[in-house]
């Protein structure tokens, strides 16, 4: 069974009296453990598509199936649990909470889990993830004391904190230099191969896209395989 199925979904925005279609009749099936990339111009609907898959917005029409269940019928709490426990998000910017340290930012999603175990394994996992993205020495640093690239890497580490089945990455390496970008890509590929984590990655970088298993292009809300 495919992990993600988009069944003819559309999403319209209203701007005044005008209706703008951000995503038009998109249909897509992504198997568990796949690593796909989506490329396209700015405003082509890539972020909206990720948001629909991530349960952060509902489609105007069509269905989004996760492991065979239509998430568009879920209520707010179920969608929150889905985002918390099944999905890992990497936003276009680091999006860290400024009053929390790097480690605390990683631990925050754990606090939102419905049944989070009370053991101290989370702290260790957070430190391991920070080590994996090369920030062992910044565990207790606040975002204000980190560079843009370091903040981005903390956000990348955070997305893996709850052992998600699916990573939705929206230009995850945008702030990184070439070397770090490659390191992060290798980290993603390793997580994909070792843990079977599914990746849907939006990127402008064709080199990164080439390293993924399957490529899609979005153009004016329409998705097509490359």
């Amino acid at each position: 069974m495919d992990q993600i199925v988009l069944d003819n979904i559309s999403r319209d925005y209203r701007v005044g009296s005008t209706s703008i279609a951000a995503v038009k009749n998109a249909s897509l099936a992504i198997g568990k453990g796949a690593f796909v990339s989506i490329v396209g111009h700015s405003g082509s609907g890539k972020t909206t598509l990720l948001s629909l898959i991530g349960g952060m917005m509902t489609p105007s029409s069509g269905r989004v199936l996760f492991n065979g269940t239509d998430i568009t019928t879920w209520n707010s709490d179920l969608l929150s649990e889905y985002r918390c426990e099944r999905i890992g998000f990497m936003f276009q910017s680091a999006s860290l909470l400024p009053i929390l340290t790097a480690k605390e930012n990683l631990l925050l999603p754990v606090a939102f889990r419905t049944n989070h175990p009370a053991d101290d394994g989370h702290a260790r996992r957070a430190e391991e993830l920070l080590h994996a993205v090369g920030l062992s020495d910044k565990v207790n640093a606040y975002p204000a004391h980190l560079s843009g690239g370091q903040q981005r890497r903390v956000a990348i580490a955070r997305s893996f904190m709850n052992n998600p089945e699916l990573i939705l990455a929206d230009e995850p390496t945008g702030d990184l230099d070439e070397e770090t970008e490659n390191e992060m890509m290798q980290f993603f590929l390793r997580m994909n191969q070792e843990h079977g984590t599914t990746f849907i990655m939006v990127t402008h970088n064709s080199d990164l896209a080439r390293q993924t298993q399957k490529h899609y292009r979005m153009d004016r809300g329409v998705i097509s395989a490359i």
Partner: protein, 396 residues
């Protein structure tokens, strides 16, 4: 791991000035509540007690002694005035009069052990009395015998220091103070009460030369059931031109009205303070909501439910509300204590607040301060918890 509590506390510490302003506003409201409720409670208690304390429908004094009598009863002033004892029988004969009892006001006393400020000594008729005896029954379950006295609340100051059963020299006679009365808020708090049967010895001692035998200072009248005291007062004044008669409700009317007006002003001040605090909290939390919209969006995207967001902000609001209210209760209590010692209008009030009164006032003020904080913040928090997580991504 950050918990919702620790996260909320970090947010509180984030902007100390803003948190301080919010706490100050709530503290101000709570202290106004404590202060006003204490005052209102004391005024109400005082009016009720004064009325109970007088226990008579009418007060009859010598003509032109009305002001002096009010000064004695309400302003702690020591005055003496006298009218002929034979007037009592004429009073009893007035239509509508049920019972009459008399008192004699004598000035000054001294103790055998130490000096005591000048005080009013009141001789009362234990056979006809319905003013003092009810209080004696509560505090001393027997009539006073010759050579015994009871002290008013203020006069019992020495007794409170431990000099119970103190012997006092009074007009050449030794009196033993055997009990005290509750504070009445009247000038009688500064008095010492003795039975009328002691007057013979006092006259004989020649130490009370200003008190002519056969005279009384005041007569208290109870009217028959269903009779209008004002009508009886008018009848007394028409029948006996040597006296003035005042209905109980008219005694200290102006002071009571002033105190009631002050209570109303306090109530209005509290309402205004509550409205101001509400809008301040609302405005600040609206600003906080706008400021943290992105963070809330991040948390929602990371899996926070609406109730997680609500709890985080609720904890913030409650901490600010509770801390502000507690500060306010402490400040209000302190302010009330200072005010009670400094302002004569409060010093005259008879009723001290009991521990229960103080606790109830503290609880009301606490609930008032905290709930205004909560109500003010509720709107912005509700709006915030509904924040769409997508906003974070789109806002970038």
């Amino acid at each position: 791991m950050p918990t919702l509590f620790s996260f909320a506390f970090k947010n509180i510490k984030r902007k100390p000035l803003r948190t301080g302003i919010l706490m100050f506003a709530i503290a101000l409201l709570a202290s106004a509540l404590v202060f006003s409720l204490s005052f209102v409670q004391r005024v109400n208690g005082s009016i009720r007690k004064s009325s109970e304390r007088l226990g008579a429908d009418l007060l009859v004094v010598p003509t032109n002694a009305r002001s002096a009598a009010e000064e004695v009863l309400l302003e702690n002033k020591i005055k003496s005035f006298y009218m002929d004892r034979t007037l009592l029988d004429r009073l009893r004969a007035v239509k509508g009069v049920d019972r009459v009892t008399e008192q004699i006001y004598l000035v000054t006393m001294s103790t055998m052990c130490c000096s005591v400020p000048e005080a009013l000594v009141v001789a009362f008729n234990q056979d006809t009395d319905f003013i003092i005896k009810p209080w004696l029954r509560e505090k001393l379950a027997r009539p006073l015998v010759r050579g015994e006295a009871v002290a008013g609340d203020e006069s019992s100051f020495n007794i409170r220091l431990g000099l119970v059963e103190v012997d006092s020299m009074l007009f050449g006679n030794v009196f033993r103070i055997v009990s005290t009365l509750d504070k009445t808020g009247t000038g009688l708090d500064n008095a010492v009460f003795i039975g009328m049967e002691n007057m013979e010895a006092i006259y004989a001692s020649g130490k009370a030369k200003n008190v002519p035998p056969g005279k009384v200072s005041v007569a208290f009248v109870k009217v028959k059931p269903g009779v209008d005291p004002a009508a009886v007062a008018m009848e007394i004044e028409n029948t006996i031109i040597e006296v003035d008669a005042m209905a109980r409700k008219d005694i200290g009317k102006n002071i009571i009205a002033t105190l009631k007006d002050m209570s109303r002003i306090f109530t209005m001040t509290i309402v205004l303070a509550a409205v101001m605090a509400f809008f301040l909290v609302w405005a600040i939390f609206t600003a906080i909501a706008n400021e943290r919209a992105k963070e809330v969006g991040i948390m929602r995207a990371l899996g926070a439910k609406e109730r997680h967001i609500f709890r985080i902000f609720l904890i913030e609001v409650l901490v600010i509300g509770i801390a502000g209210s507690l500060l306010g209760i402490a400040a209000g209590t302190g302010l009330s204590a200072i005010f009670a010692k400094t302002f004569s209008i409060v010093k005259q009030l008879s009723t001290e607040l009991s521990l229960l009164d103080r606790s109830v006032i503290a609880v009301i003020s606490f609930a008032g301060g905290t709930s205004i904080c909560l109500l003010g913040a509720l709107g912005p928090i509700q709006r915030l918890k509904k924040m769409e997580p997508l906003m974070v991504i789109k806002a970038e």
